[in-house]
C-alpha cells in the first residue's frame, strides 16, 4: 500500500549527528546543547512520573507524554525569550520547561491543584498562562495557530514590539482547516509566527499515508509563502540549530516560518494506548531513534560530559520531581461549594450570581 512507499522514502540508515566538531567545541553552543539536554532529561523524568501516577490510578482522565519529541519541543522552548508567545500542544513538556514553566505546573494540572494555572478546571496538557504570552491549548487541533498570530497582531496594533510566537502541533493537526487558515492568516498579516510541526508518523493510529499526500509537509511552506525548514526530529543538534535559526529568521524578517521535524512517536497516543498499529519495520529505522539516547551518545562522543555526570543530572531531576510532587499532592483541590460557577469576566452578568 501507500504506506510502503512512504517507508521507502524515509532514510534507511542513521545520519548520526553531523554537527561539525568545531561547533560542538564552541562554548556557547556547548552550553546551549547541555542546557537543552537537561530540560529533555527533566521532561522525561516528569512524564515517566506522570505515567506511573496514571497507572496507579492517581490521575483522572487521560495521560499524554512527549516521549521521542523532546528534542523538537525543547528547541522550540529554548528559542523563545521571555515575553514571546508560546502555544505548545500535547507533547511539549520539554519545551514548556525551557520556556520557563514551573515543573510543578504539570503535576498541578494533572492532579487538579487549585494553585495550578488551571485551578482544576482544565487538566493534563491543557494548561498555560495567556497573560504571560503562554497560551492554554484547547483540544480542537489547529486552533492555536490563529490565536498565537492574534497575540502578535494585538501587540502590533498597540504599537508594541511583537516578539515572535512559536506554535507546535503534530502532522495530524495540519489536516485541519484551522491550521490552514491560521498559517495563511499569519502569512497575510506578515507576523513572525513559527509553526513547528512534529511529524511523528502517526496521528493516534493514523499513518501519514491517510493524513496527507504530499511528499513532505515542508513543501507546503512555499504554498503559504513562508520559509520552510526540514528537521531531523531525533537529533537535538539539528533541532536546536534549525529551530533556533527559524526563530531568529522570524525575529529578523518579521515573517512566519514552517518547521517540519520528522521522528517516530515513542509512546502510545496516550498512556492507555499500546500502539500495536505502529509498523514494525519503522521501529528499526533511524527515524525511530530516541532523541534522548542520541543526545547522550553525542555528549559522550564529543566529551561534553561523561556518563557519571549524565546519570547525576538524571538523579538530580528525579529528586527534584519527587519533592515537587510531594508538595503538589498536599496542595488544595477544588471545592464545589467554594466555586462560583460563573464563567464571565464582566461582573454582574452571570445569572443567579451577583444578584442577576
Amino acid at each position: 500500500m501507500a504506506q510502503t512507499a512512504f517507508l521507502e522514502s524515509l532514510p534507511q540508515s542513521a545520519s548520526q549527528t553531523k554537527l561539525p566538531v568545531e561547533s560542538a567545541l564552541d562554548e556557547s553552543w556547548r552550553d546551549l546543547y547541555l542546557k537543552a539536554f537537561r530540560f529533555m532529561q527533566r521532561a522525561r523524568v516528569i512524564e515517566d512520573k506522570l505515567a506511573s501516577l496514571y497507572r496507579s490510578g492517581k490521575i483522572t482522565g487521560g495521560c499524554y507524554v512527549g516521549r521521542g519529541n523532546e528534542a523538537v519541543a525543547v528547541s522550540a522552548g529554548i528559542a523563545l525569550n521571555k515575553g514571546d508567545v508560546f502555544a505548545p500542544l500535547i507533547r511539549d513538556q520539554a519545551g514548556r520547561l525551557a520556556y520557563g514553566e514551573s515543573p510543578a505546573d504539570a503535576f498541578r494540572t494533572y492532579l487538579g491543584s487549585r494553585l495550578g494555572p488551571m485551578r482544576g478546571r482544565d487538566g493534563n496538557v491543557h494548561r498555560g498562562r495567556p497573560a504571560e504570552g503562554y497560551l492554554a491549548m484547547i483540544s480542537h487541533l489547529g486552533a492555536m495557530v490563529s490565536a498565537a498570530t492574534g497575540m502578535l497582531l494585538g501587540r502590533r496594533l498597540r504599537g508594541e514590539p511583537t516578539g515572535i510566537a512559536i506554535v507546535t502541533l503534530g502532522e495530524g493537526a495540519t489536516s485541519t482547516g484551522a491550521f490552514h487558515e491560521g498559517l495563511n492568516l499569519a502569512a497575510v498579516e506578515k507576523l513572525p509566527v513559527v509553526v513547528v510541526v512534529s511529524n511523528n508518523l502517526y496521528a493516534y493510529s493514523t499513518p501519514n499515508s491517510r493524513q496527507f499526500a504530499c511528499e513532505s509537509l515542508v513543501h507546503r511552506a512555499r504554498g503559504y509563502g513562508v520559509r520552510g525548514w526540514d528537521v531531523d526530529g531525533t537529533d537535538l543538534n539539528d533541532c536546536l540549530k534549525k529551530i533556533t535559526a527559524a526563530a531568529q529568521d522570524a525575529r529578523q524578517t518579521g515573517l512566519p516560518q514552517l518547521v517540519v521535524a520528522t521522528l517516530l512517536r515513542l509512546s502510545g497516543h496516550g498512556e492507555h494506548d499500546d500502539a500495536f498499529y505502529v509498523d514494525a519495520t519503522l521501529k528499526t529505522l533511524p527515524v525511530a531513534r530516541d532523541c534522548l539516547a542520541v543526545a547522550e551518545e553525542f555528549i559522550l562522543q564529543t566529551n561534553l560530559a561523561d556518563w557519571g555526570e549524565i546519570l547525576e543530572w538524571k538523579e538530580e531531576a528525579k529528586r527534584e520531581v519527587e519533592s515537587i510532587l510531594a508538595e503538589v499532592q498536599r496542595e488544595p483541590v477544588p471545592d464545589p461549594f467554594e466555586e462560583r460557577w460563573c464563567c464571565l469576566a464582566t461582573p454582574g452578568l452571570c445569572e443567579g450570581i451577583d444578584g442577576v
Binding site: I59, T60, G61, G62, G112, M118, G120, R121, D122, G123, N124, H126, I138, S139, H140, L141, G172, A173, S175, T176, G177, A178, A203, Y204, S205, T206, R210, Q211, F212, Y277, V333, P334, D335, P336, E339, W341, C342, C343, C350, E351, G352
Partner: protein, 322 residues
C-alpha cells in the same frame, strides 16, 4: 452472554454494512484501530474497503459524506468526540440539513457523536451537543439511553431515515451498560418510552440521565412517591404526545438534561407542557441541567456540575412540595 451499549453500536453498524452496499464508515482511526472507543472494532476485517480512516478534517469528513449521500450512499461519520463535531458544524447545519429542502435530494448520513461527560475528561471531551443540532431545521437528533435503543435506533438511522441523523451516544454508557441480548423488536426511534411507571410526577429525560433519573425515582419510592420516567429517546422530533399523556397522569413535570442550562431540550419539553398541557399541570413545570460553565476537569467540580441521582431527587422533592 451479555451485550454492552458499545457492542450494540458496533453490531448495528455491522448489520447496516451487511444489509446495504451504500453504507460505509468514515472517521479518524476507525479502520485498523477500530475507533477511539472501539465502536468499529473488527469491522474493517469484515467489510474491507468500507471502513475508512480520514485525516483530522471534520469539515471535509462531513462534506464528503454529504456528497456521497447525494450519490445514493448511506455514510456513517464517526466523530472522535462529540466536541469535535463543532469543526464540522458548518457542513452539518448549513449543508446536510438544508440539502433536501433546497434541492429535493435527500441526505441520508448518520453522524455518530460520542457524547457526554466522564470523570476527568475536561471541557473538550465531555460535551452534549443535542441542543445545538436540534435547533436546526433538517436534522434528526437521537439520544439513546439503553443497549436496545443504541442498536435499533442506530440501525433505523442508517438504513431507514433519509435525512441527516445526529446520533448522540453517551460515553458513560459504553462499557458498563449491559443487556442480555440484542433486541429483536424495535420501537421506532420517534417514540418516547415510559422507562418507569408512576403517578406523582413525570420526569422527562434522555441519554445517560435516564439512569440517574431511575436511581432518583428509586430514592423517591422509598419516600412514598411514584415517579414516572419518560425516556425521550429522540429529542428531535420530540414525542410530545407521550410526554403530555404522562403529565396528564401525574400533573407534575421535571425535565432533566446533562446539557448546559440555557435553552435546549429541557426548555423545549417544559415549554411544550406549558403551551399544550397547561391545564394538566398541578404545579409549575421545572427543569434541571448542568451548570452554566464549561465542563470542569477535576472530579469534585465535575460531579457538582452535572445533574446526579441526588440532585434530581432533591429537585423532585421540591416539585412534589410545590
Amino acid at each position: 452472554m451479555s451485550v454492552t451499549y458499545l457492542d450494540a453500536i458496533r453490531e448495528a453498524q455491522a448489520k447496516a454494512l451487511a444489509s446495504h452496499p451504500g453504507v460505509f464508515i468514515y472517521g479518524q482511526d476507525v479502520a485498523l484501530f477500530g475507533g477511539a472507543f472501539k465502536a468499529t472494532k473488527n469491522l474493517l476485517q469484515q467489510f474491507p474497503g468500507r471502513i475508512l480512516d480520514t485525516p483530522i478534517s471534520e469539515d471535509a469528513m462531513v462534506g464528503a459524506a454529504i456528497g456521497a449521500a447525494a450519490e445514493g450512499m448511506r455514510p456513517i461519520v464517526e466523530m472522535q468526540f462529540a466536541d469535535f463535531s463543532t469543526v464540522g458544524f458548518n457542513q452539518i447545519v448549513n449543508h446536510a440539513a438544508t440539502l433536501f429542502w433546497r434541492t429535493g435530494v435527500p441526505c441520508p448520513i448518520t453522524i455518530r457523536l460520542p457524547s457526554g461527560g466522564t470523570m476527568g475528561s475536561g471541557p473538550f471531551h465531555s460535551q452534549m451537543m443535542e441542543t445545538v443540532y436540534a435547533h436546526y431545521p433538517g436534522l434528526v437528533v437521537m439520544t439513546p439511553a439503553t443497549v436496545e435503543d443504541a442498536y435499533s435506533m442506530l440501525l433505523e438511522a442508517v438504513l431507514e431515515i433519509d435525512d441527516p441523523v445526529i446520533f448522540c451516544e453517551h460515553k458513560m454508557l459504553y462499557y458498563h451498560l449491559k443487556a442480555p441480548a440484542l433486541p429483536t423488536v424495535a420501537l421506532p426511534a420517534k417514540h418516547a418510552r415510559i422507562a418507569r411507571h408512576g403517578k406523582h410526577a413525570t420526569l422527562a429525560t434522555y441519554s445517560a440521565m435516564v439512569h440517574e433519573a431511575l436511581l432518583a425515582s428509586q430514592q423517591l419510592a422509598t419516600e412514598g412517591f411514584e415517579i414516572e420516567v419518560v425516556d425521550l429517546r429522540t429529542v428531535k422530533p420530540l414525542d410530545t404526545d407521550t410526554l403530555l399523556a404522562s403529565v396528564a397522569r401525574t400533573g407534575r413535570l421535571l425535565a432533566v438534561g446533562e446539557s448546559f442550562p440555557w435553552g435546549g431540550v429541557t426548555a423545549e419539553v417544559v415549554s411544550r407542557a406549558a403551551d399544550e398541557g397547561f391545564a394538566l399541570l398541578d404545579a409549575p413545570p421545572r427543569r434541571l441541567n448542568a451548570k452554566d460553565t464549561p465542563v470542569p476537569y477535576h472530579p469534585n467540580l465535575w460531579t457538582a456540575h452535572r445533574p446526579s441521582a441526588n440532585s434530581i431527587a432533591a429537585a423532585l422533592r421540591d416539585l412534589l412540595r410545590s
